[in-house]
Symmetry: D3
Subunit: 175 residues, 6 copies
């Protein structure tokens, strides 16, 4: 049992696979820090939602899934574009943690070089359950709601997120 673990993602948006991972991690840690990466980006196909919107989605998804949010921290962190200082940036932005969970190869390597314990997470139906799939289905008007919690699809509709993704589409004038 770890005292405090750290789980990173961009959560664009949070989907059912994320929730299964979080549930399984909560069996291994007393407290879990959920880091929302690339917090400064929004309004692009890869990062449609602001960090404020993502905080709300994650929170409501956790509550909908009866996850005890008093054991969780939700912390947005900007990309640094400088890998050399990225781990320090994470450490200074979060309460002290003793393990990191990630399937991102770069994050894995950076944490390991820093001397931090790092583990892969289980993958739940990865080929289907990914944020990219959710966004692509929104773009193509396919069934995207089955992949995410109801509370998250509510927020996406409320903030006019479907039109946001469709109007911007793959336009990548700005990141």
């Amino acid at each position: 049992m770890y005292k405090r673990g750290l789980f990173l993602g961009r959560f664009q948006p949070i989907h059912n696979g994320h929730l299964q991972v979080i549930k399984s991690l909560l069996k291994m840690v007393e407290e879990l820090i959920i880091v929302i990466g690339s917090a400064q980006y929004s309004h692009s196909f890869n990062n449609p939602f602001t960090s404020g919107e993502r905080i709300l989605m994650i929170r409501n998804a956790l509550i909908e899934n009866n996850i005890d949010i008093s054991k969780l921290y939700i912390i947005p962190i900007n990309d640094t574009n400088d890998n050399r200082i990225w781990v320090s940036h994470i450490i200074a932005s979060t309460p002290k943690f003793d393990v990191v969970f990630t399937n991102n190869k770069l994050v894995f390597r950076l944490m390991k070089e820093f001397g931090i314990e790092v583990k892969n997470t289980e993958l739940f139906n990865r080929e289907k359950l990914s944020s990219t799939t959710v966004r692509t289905r929104i773009l193509n008007n396919e069934n995207w709601e089955e992949l995410i919690p109801k509370s998250v699809s509510s927020i996406i509709k409320e903030i006019d997120g479907i039109n946001r993704i469709r109007e911007i589409g793959f336009s990548n004038l700005k990141k």
Copy 2:
């Protein structure tokens, strides 16, 4: 009753006055966003603690005071050094809010110009209860613990915060 309010501070560190304000605000809003400003600064006399340390202090202080944290968001936000875009930065980094509470004149003005409802907060024993007083007492080896929750003074001791403040002192080589 407001749906969601926003309360800003640097929380260097959170003290009993902050907690009284938060309690009184929770009577006026359904949910409260606590924004930790100047999140990127630390290790100076004005900003001794990292944003990660401040998140932990605030969280534990709320729990110690039996405040229901499921109604609260704790969100760190960096200074922009560009007042022109600061309000947008706050809006994008937080769930939608309908009122801001602050006694900072600049924040008050910027929010008002943007068309956001903004209110002063009550001051509880302001001349004594301020983060500056806490830090100054730590520096001068006076009774600082009476001004802050027990859980916060625990964290300060655990992270060797007393020595951090005393060793750095008023050295202002770096902000």
Copy 3:
């Protein structure tokens, strides 16, 4: 009739299509703000010219076309790489405007979300009249001068712009 409209482009370089748009917009607004976007970039194939050079080109093109420049503002604006604060950045950098003209989908969406009136512009012979076509023809030694005002081709020659584009070519070591 709008009091003040805003028209955005990178103007790398300004071409005859831009001028037709500006002329048609001037029938709809009392004053027009021409924003030179991506102002900080230069010396790449996509952005060969500095913002100073582009200001001069636009100014001379307007005068050559007998457009009354006392009704126009030419304002360079850097990209922010943070869509969340981009509209605020535009607002703070320009005199107050009441309508935006753009065919860029992202700009359109960002303005609309902010509550600003935004309209598409007419396209004049778009497949031929574009800055990309001008630059590609310069690279390939084809007839590029027919696409832009004489005063602009003069400036390009004077600043050795043809060789600049050809020597840099598609090299994209730096943006």
Copy 4:
């Protein structure tokens, strides 16, 4: 007679002394570039107005004074906080110039070291005519309107600038 001169200021706000300088410079140059420095700052006592507001003030002040704006460029430029590259930043942001007019010692030195011709400007009643005096009088509710063109005081009132300066006052939480 110089072909194109460059005159720098922060214009917070433009006052009658600036206008006298501009008139006298226009006798020495064919075209004049007015650079609005520290463009990114606003909402502080030293820099109350945004660059967009300052552009509008300068433009209207010039027209009120019957200065031919077709001979003038008004170009906002952000501070770089890195003196080493500041001159290059100015050069890239403006049409080519052959002389700089300034009484700022640092700007004078930087331009001279770069090999650019640089001259002091005449001072017109400097002890009284300065932007600092204008702002201080606004703060103290003294006669500030006599120091600036009517069109500028109109804009200041229209954008609620008097209250902006008084409410922010000397608060310098943010630059």
Copy 5:
């Protein structure tokens, strides 16, 4: 004979071709400045090594090749992402130089526009001897050590550089 020349590269890592160029340049200059470009990047396939690691590799490679390091300066310089001020950035970061050696088309053009003498370097077996080839061979487990000095392959092994490149691979989540 030039007094002081400047040679730019990213040196990811330094290879035998670089060393041949340096030796040949040392016949043309009294002193040589080796600029390590893109200094801020590391832990990506294109830029696996930090600037600190690259400084050490270059230094040891020079000593292994009996090059007199008292005639050399090794200076790391960050990318600016703003070509307009890049040459000034180089000038301010290095002792005065009178010639630049480069085969990079953009660097060549920027230096020439600034009025600096710039020359191509000889290419030694370019199709085989490149840093990209070294990194690709490391990735593919082919013979990479023959392309670089022994002291450099020692450092790469010591810092676990082979695994760093293989684990990160072509993942380009971050630059």
Copy 6:
């Protein structure tokens, strides 16, 4: 005996006290890294010289003092304005070191918190031998040359440094 030590300063300019410290440190380490801090600042009273000029001064001062430069690294490093990541920034920018020498309280604290061994340096006639004293004497036309190596005063004269300091003086428009 340490393998590699790190010594930090701004070296505005390097003076005889610095050289005594370096000589004494070289008895304790096999190799010494001299970090030039605040590398991005220049042309102010506190930071008159560019990092390129400071590299040249340090190098020539070392040679004049018969110090073996093959045991030394001279590495310029920009301030980060974010203490949280500053140590990582230093580590990534330098070859691996096992001890830091500094009398700066903040640097001392930051290194210690990171788990790095850190020691104070001896002070040689500190009240007289400081860079601030050198600059103040230049400003006041007092004997400044006795405080620094001859090779350094040569460079200062060659780059017109005396006039640079006097003309800028205490003007602090820009840092």
